[in-house]
Symmetry: C2
Subunit: 174 residues, 2 copies
């Protein structure tokens, strides 16, 4: 699929078919995360692929009861590893957050291009997710991404006008 | 350009031609940021488009002398606005960082698809960038992105194997 088309047609999908995700497509999605750029090419992220029904249910509980994440045949939990990068953003923030986000964005676009649906889920209790998946304390949980064939076709959601987001030469409020 | 092709062929570009970026292409790049998803669709980011030579030189100074950012005809400074989102990631981090990162990733892929080059620049002194561009204290600087026609064709940089990044069902070290 054309890149612009992939960006324009991506939706947050919260209903999934039971149809499994073919392994070849899962690999293709994961590979786009692998190719993502990162500060000093540190690649400070990990992706946990969860298909076990019991684990998915425990993660529903760790994410305030968002049942749809367990409905997807695959749930990706993306982690950042601060220890693996010395880079900071602007001198104030370890680079692993943005690096992991780039990898996830690649995957959400790739999934859409392959006919699959995803949703960025950020509402979860990190400690509970850590406990369920045995994630060490020095590894941060960045995103949960259900992945599967969409069973809904949501309308596009509104966006601000470009004029409200873009400024020229200097910051202009609000 | 095909999405997978855009992901596979994107490079960090640090040498640019003097050729200006046509306004239609700049708009197309900016529009892909506009379309990016964000937590609760808050769209908590701003993009400052800098073409003024003097401002660009001051930003070189604010980014530890990285001269190539001023060589690009356009420099995009992407900001996050924490106040515009109530969402957190995992209950521990305001969502604006990841939201802005998604918008930037869209732009870097779109630029590549349009024959333009970019580079994620995270090494800058946030306070100095703020001073040059009159960015308020409650707005964070997330990334600086030079944009222009590439004057180099870098080889692809190495990546870890998928097996080193992907785990199944539980976190497995290191």
């Amino acid at each position: 699929m054309d890149l612009m088309e992939a960006i324009k047609t991506r939706r947050s999908i919260r209903r999934f078919k039971e149809t499994p995700v073919p392994e070849s497509l899962l690999k293709e999605v994961l590979n786009t995360a692998r190719l993502a750029p990162s500060a000093d090419n540190a690649q400070p992220w990990r992706i946990i692929v969860i298909m076990d029904a019991d684990l998915k249910l425990k993660l529903v509980s760790a994410s305030y009861g968002q049942k749809f994440i367990a409905q997807a045949p695959v749930l990706l939990v993306v982690c950042g590893v601060p220890e693996e990068t010395f880079s900071t953003i602007g001198g104030y923030m370890n680079a692993h957050v943005i690096d992991a986000a780039i990898a996830v964005d690649h995957m959400t676009l790739a999934a859409n291009a392959l006919g699959l649906g995803t949703c960025w889920v950020g509402r979860f209790n990190e400690d509970k997710v850590r406990e369920v998946l045995e994630i060490p304390e020095d590894v941060r949980v960045i995103a949960m991404i259900p992945l599967g064939y969409p069973d809904e076709a949501p309308e596009k959601t509104p966006r601000r006008n470009l004029d409200d987001l873009v400024m020229y030469e200097k910051f202009k409020g609000p």
